[in-house]
């Protein structure tokens, strides 16, 4: 993807560094470092911070398919990794705070306080973990974007919905794939089984990212990767940054499995509603197939992700239960914030995208 539009001093300084060769950028890298430190100190709400979320998103992008005109060598340049970690630390702190709040609201049991079938030492079994996660997903009764999409969304709002999703869905499954070599045994086999399905079972045209691209084309949107990054607000970027954070840091392998489990568990019914929203506007299977496919796929994946992936990991490494629940509640926290933004905008007749960035249709 091309380098995004800047959103403030941090992204300006970052992109200025990235277009140079790593060897000749020492002075600008130092300036960037000072700039990030200063701006982080001022940031009251890092999850909703346009400049910082875009900068983190762009730094992560170097580990996916890169940015046009940016040297591949930047990916592991220590000075840049240091800056990424400077941003990750307060971002993770804010996520943990938001996740704890969701955990309290939804009655997530404190780690080490389980009842039911337990392994010696009081550790939960994989079935216990699956049940905790399913209960958590079921308790998510916040405002529903899927019902709005099904019943009320205008064509323009459907396009906006796809634009927000496109930032992740055009690389669907990639952040969780980072976790495969960090897992062993049952959890690893489970993740590979889910990801193989996400990637189309060997058929590139059936990859979920390819199905999503087809949906975008079918409604007249640009399906090239990253085409709408400039259009989406910080919280949409934060939802993808959460996955990259948990996927790229091995110590957060518990969190990425909890993330995937909740993601799958809160997906099959909403996808039916999303499909209905597009059918209501007269779109056929060419556009709705992505959603219809997810109704069936995620009903399989939620079982495997809850029991074998997250549950299998906790049986193997019981100390990771807390992080599994962190990943699960963090995605709920960010999602409910994004939902509130979408519904709040739409119900007051406004665009949910960034001002002055119209969607070409």
């Amino acid at each position: 993807m091309r380098i995004p539009e800047t959103r403030g001093p941090v992204s300006s300084a970052l992109f200025k560094v990235l277009v140079q060769a790593p060897a000749s950028s020492a002075a600008d890298l130092d300036a960037l470092h000072a700039m990030v430190a200063g701006q982080l100190a001022l940031a009251a709400d890092i999850i909703g911070h346009e400049d910082i979320q875009l900068s983190l998103f762009s730094l992560y992008e170097l580990h996916y398919s890169g940015l046009d005109g940016v040297a591949d060598d930047w990916e592991w340049e220590p000075g840049l990794i240091r800056i990424r970690r400077m941003i990750e630390e307060p971002f993770e702190k804010a996520l943990r705070e938001a996740a704890r709040k969701v955990g309290r609201e939804h009655g997530v049991p404190a780690t080490g306080a389980f009842t039911g079938s337990q392994l010696p030492g009081g550790n939960p079994t994989s079935d216990d973990v699956a049940r905790i996660l399913f209960d958590l997903a079921a308790s998510d009764t916040g405002p529903s974007v899927s019902r709005y999409v099904a019943r009320k969304a205008s064509l323009e709002q459907l396009k906006e919905f796809l634009v927000h999703k496109s930032v992740y869905q055009l690389k669907e499954a990639d952040p969780h794939t980072w976790a495969i070599p960090r897992l062993t045994g049952r959890a690893k086999a489970a993740l590979v089984e889910i990801q193989a399905d996400e990637y189309g079972g060997g058929r590139p045209e059936r990859m979920h990212s390819a199905l999503f691209a087809r949906t975008m084309r079918g409604i007249g949107l640009d399906d090239s990767y990253g085409a709408y990054v400039d259009s989406v607000p910080a919280v949409s970027l934060a939802s993808v940054n959460l996955m990259s954070l948990c996927g790229l840091n091995r110590r957060l392998r518990g969190a990425i499995t909890g993330h995937l489990a909740i993601y799958e568990m809160t997906s099959s019914q909403p996808n039916r509603f999303y499909g209905n929203g597009f059918r209501r506007h007269g779109f056929d299977a060419g556009v709705t197939h992505y959603f219809d496919e997810h109704v069936e796929a995620d009903a399989v994946h939620e079982q495997i992700a809850g029991r074998d992936l997250a549950g299998g990991l906790v049986e193997a490494e019981p100390e990771l239960l807390g992080d599994v629940l962190f990943g699960a509640t963090a995605v709920m926290a960010i999602d409910s914030r994004l939902s509130a933004h979408l519904l709040g905008s739409w119900e007051s007749g406004k665009s949910s995208l960034r001002a002055a960035v119209p969607v070409a249709a």
Binding site: A138, T184, G185, D197, Q269, I304
Partner: protein, 82 residues
Amino acid sequence: MNQEQPETTENGAGEPAASSIVVCPDGPLIVRGEFEIVTPSGGPVPRDRKTVALCRCGASAIKPYCDGTHKMIKFRTERPAG
């Protein structure tokens, strides 16, 4: 580094069975391995993935597959022993 796989099904020869069915509490049957899904007359039921979830609550809109509706209707099964 590999963990034990206690739930692997084994036949008499001590080899893993060609397929397995996971009985999910309050949910579907997850079927993986080598198998066919056929209509009563033997024709193939369309199938898009290797591992499938078969509905056992009766409420799915995409039977024989599960679509997650069991959660909305609060389908409950006995906890399998053990």
